[in-house]
Amino acid sequence: MTAVLAMRDAGFILGAYAATVVVIGSFALWVLRAGRRSGRLVDDEEKYWT
């Protein structure tokens, strides 16, 4: 771990990874939450994937 932090330009590199993880994570959570919210209002027979 210390080796990772000791990289040259660690801030930029870890920043790129952090941005990727945060953006994708929040997008995925948003999609899942929206699906759960709308899924509660619809009967399972109407969902083509069930």
Partner: protein, 260 residues
């Protein structure tokens, strides 16, 4: 369509199934694997140093973004020219474009951070970069068009046309930007920098990245498409209910021609 007052409401599941759950877990494992290899186990590049690590997220996101836009274009075509005009294709097109825009944004972020390390500047007016930025904005426009009001079919048809127009316009944009840069480029910095002499472990890491992000794309696409389907269902149900209410109003007041 059954109205909301169905006698026995069933389990009310979200957009997940056993298959997507397995896929999601595999995706998470692969992403963790990518972090491990990308940040820790893979070596630094001889020329680029540690900056090459950014490539392991940058390259997969840009590939998947392009793939997402291709999926959007293909599904737009299938919707428009398919015999059944299945709204399913429209949903996949919309979901894919959204994911593509997210991935493209990540590509631009990680790319500019890489550029800051390697070139000393965040942005270069290189043909590839410029086209990518324009592509990004074009699909933001596409998503804006998807958000316009109208009946479901009209929205789908309109979006499909915009999605296919992008296919005509993007190559022209790319061509013009390339002509522009080829005449004015002082030094070809980019061409040498990206053809790094990749060693085995680095190639493996890049490959893991592509696999991880492909799985992620499929997982996101499945969930997002289903969410859109749910929203469509709810929207049409809301409309049905509004019509039913209006009708009962009219019959109870006893005047059929009384409405506006």
């Amino acid at each position: 369509m059954t109205p909301t007052t169905s006698p026995q409401p069933t389990a009310r599941r979200a957009t997940g199934t056993r298959a997507t759950r397995v896929l999601g877990i595999v995706t998470l494992v692969m992403l963790g694997w990518l972090l491990l290899f990308g940040l820790v186990l893979s070596p630094a590049d001889i020329d680029q140093g540690d900056a090459v690590r950014i490539m392991y997220v940058h390259v997969p996101t840009v590939w998947l973004a392009y793939l997402a836009f291709i999926v959007t274009a293909v599904c737009s075509g299938l919707y428009l020219f398919g015999r059944r005009h299945s709204l399913g294709f429209d949903r996949v097109a919309g979901a894919s474009a959204e994911i593509g825009v997210v991935f493209m944004a990540l590509t631009l972020i990680s790319g500019s951070l890489w550029g800051r390390i390697t070139w000393g500047v965040y942005w270069q007016w290189d043909a590839r970069l410029t086209t990518t930025a324009l592509l990004f904005v074009t699909y933001i426009g596409y998503l804006a068009v998807r958000g316009l009001e109208g009946t479901r079919e009209r929205r789908a048809r309109r979006s499909a046309v915009i999605g296919l127009l992008a296919v005509v316009e993007i190559p022209l944009v790319h061509w013009s930007v390339r002509l522009w840069r080829s005449l004015h480029q002082e030094a070809t910095i980019l061409d040498t920098d990206l053809d790094v002499d990749i060693d085995g472990l680095m190639l493996f890491t890049l490959f893991s990245g592509v696999v991880a992000f492909t799985l992620l794309f499929v997982w996101l696409l499945l969930h997002r498409t289903r969410t859109i389907a749910l929203d469509d269902l709810l929207a049409s149900r809301g409309l049905d209910r509004a019509i039913a209410e209006r009708r009962s109003e009219v019959t109870s007041s006893g005047s059929i021609g009384g409405g506006s």
